[in-house]
Structure formats: C-alpha cells, structure tokens
Amino acid sequence: MERIPILRMGKLLLVTIQVDMHDRLAMTLQDDLTDRIVKDEAKGVLIDISALDLVDSFIGRMISNTAAMARVLDASTVVVGMQPAVAITLVELGLTLTGVKTALNVEKGVALLEKSMRR
C-alpha cells in the first residue's frame, strides 16, 4: 500500500509530503504518525508541506487532527513550508489551522520543536 515515509531523528518525527495526496493516503499518514509517536516515544512531529501545491479542507483537517492527537500523546506538531498561494487559498476557504504551530522552513520548525521540548 502507498505510504508516506516517516523519519525519526532523536525525539522528533519528520514527514515530508511530496505527492499529491488523495484522501486515503492522508488518513493513512494520520494513523501512521499517531502510531509512531507512541512507538518511538516522540516528543515532536515536523510536517514539511513545501512540496504541496494544494491543501484543501480534507488535508487541512488531517493536519489539524494530527496536531490534536499528537498533543494528547504528549508531542508537539509544527507544520513548515506552506506555499504563499496555499496559505491564501486555505484562509479564503475558511480554514485557519487553529492550534497548529507553523514555521517558515524546516530549520525554524526544528528550533521551535526543540524549544517546546525543553520546557
């Protein structure tokens, strides 16, 4: 089955979405990530969406839900690299990803996660 790879780096899980996600793939990623947070005792999740040229309500909801599930499992989530056109479209669509931490790039995202882990 088609899957998006999840990489572990210390206490962090890294995901780079590089394919146009259909809905089932998005749900699989959500399930895989929550499993891995528990299995790897991860404290942070970084989702890089810089290669995504579309975030619709379904993908947006997957991102929000993943962040909420991670929080319940004692891990923080940062979404990085959103393209400006995607941000404009997402807000006009009515999704603001409330409660999801964001950063402009991977470097800033990792710094944000490390800061939240030190607390």
Binding site: D23, D53, L54, V55, S57, V86, L90, G94
Partner: protein, 156 residues
C-alpha cells in the same frame, strides 16, 4: 458534448451557456474514486497553466475543484466532471461542471452554510469553493442528483 452524459434531472443553469463565450477543449472525467480526484486536480492545474492563470488563482481553482469533486464522490455517490475552456474575446476562463445522480440536496441554504455538514466533514466544501471561484451555481433535485458549476476567469 462529447462523452458527456446529461444529468438525470432538470438542469437549467443560468450560468450556462456563458453568453458569447467560445467553448474550447471540452473534456469529461469520471469521479468514482480518490484517484480520480487527484487526476482532476492535475488536469485542472494543466489547464490553468495553459491559460496563464496566476499561481494564486491556479491554487484557488484547483482547491475549489477538489472540494466539489469530493462532494460528488462522497455525497453524490460518484459522477463526472466536464472541463471546458471559455473565451469571450475579452477574457478567458475555465468552467467545471460536476454532475452526480445521487440523493440531491434537500436544504440548500443549510448546505451552503459554513460549518454545516450532513457527513463527517468540516462543512466548508460548498461555501468555501464558492468563495474561491468567480462564478458558482448549484442545481439540485432531491432524489435525482446535483450539478455544480464553477467558473474562474483569468485576471487581466
């Protein structure tokens, strides 16, 4: 229209035909699986690049198409989408017509309201898609089906 089956219900959109517009490159795609939705996004992206849409307008149109395609699939039980390029002489655009023969929409006002969903979604699909395109029309007949028309014009 080649390869395009007319809706099973009375379909009299006020948007179509767009007055004076030449219709070019008419094409129909099936909408029966997640993969079809991904395929549609790709084709709409290609069309909007061909017409030299700006990046934001490309993204808006594709996102709107994705939302409505999901509705066709999820609530309409699948259907098809017709893609057309429009050229009025003064402006060019893309027209997408989504048709299903599902249960239709009984309470249109509620369906268009942000946050209302009859399924498990966020309830942003219809209202959100309407905000992302220039022209939007929905025709529905309970028990017979639904058609949604999206038009996005290239900004000059």
């Amino acid at each position: 229209m080649s390869g395009y089956s007319a809706p099973a219900f009375e379909f009299n959109p006020s948007l179509l035909p767009v007055g004076g517009a030449m219709v070019q490159q008419s094409q129909s795609l099936p909408l029966h699986s997640d993969e079809h939705v991904v395929m549609l996004r790709k084709v709409v992206r290609e069309r909007s690049i061909e017409l030299q849409f700006g990046l934001v307008d490309q993204t808006k149109l594709i996102t709107a198409a994705s939302e409505i395609a999901r509705n066709t699939l999820k609530y309409g039980g699948g259907g098809e989408v017709r893609l057309q390029n429009l050229d009025t002489g003064a402006k060019v655009g893309v027209c997408l017509t989504f048709v299903d023969d599902g249960p239709g929409i009984v309470d249109m006002e509620r369906a268009m309201t942000d946050g209302y969903t009859s399924g498990g979604g966020l309830g942003l699909g219809l209202g959100g898609a309407r905000r992302l395109v220039d022209d939007f029309e929905i025709c529905t007949q309970p028990g017979k089906g639904t058609a949604v028309i999206l038009i996005k014009w290239k900004r000059c």
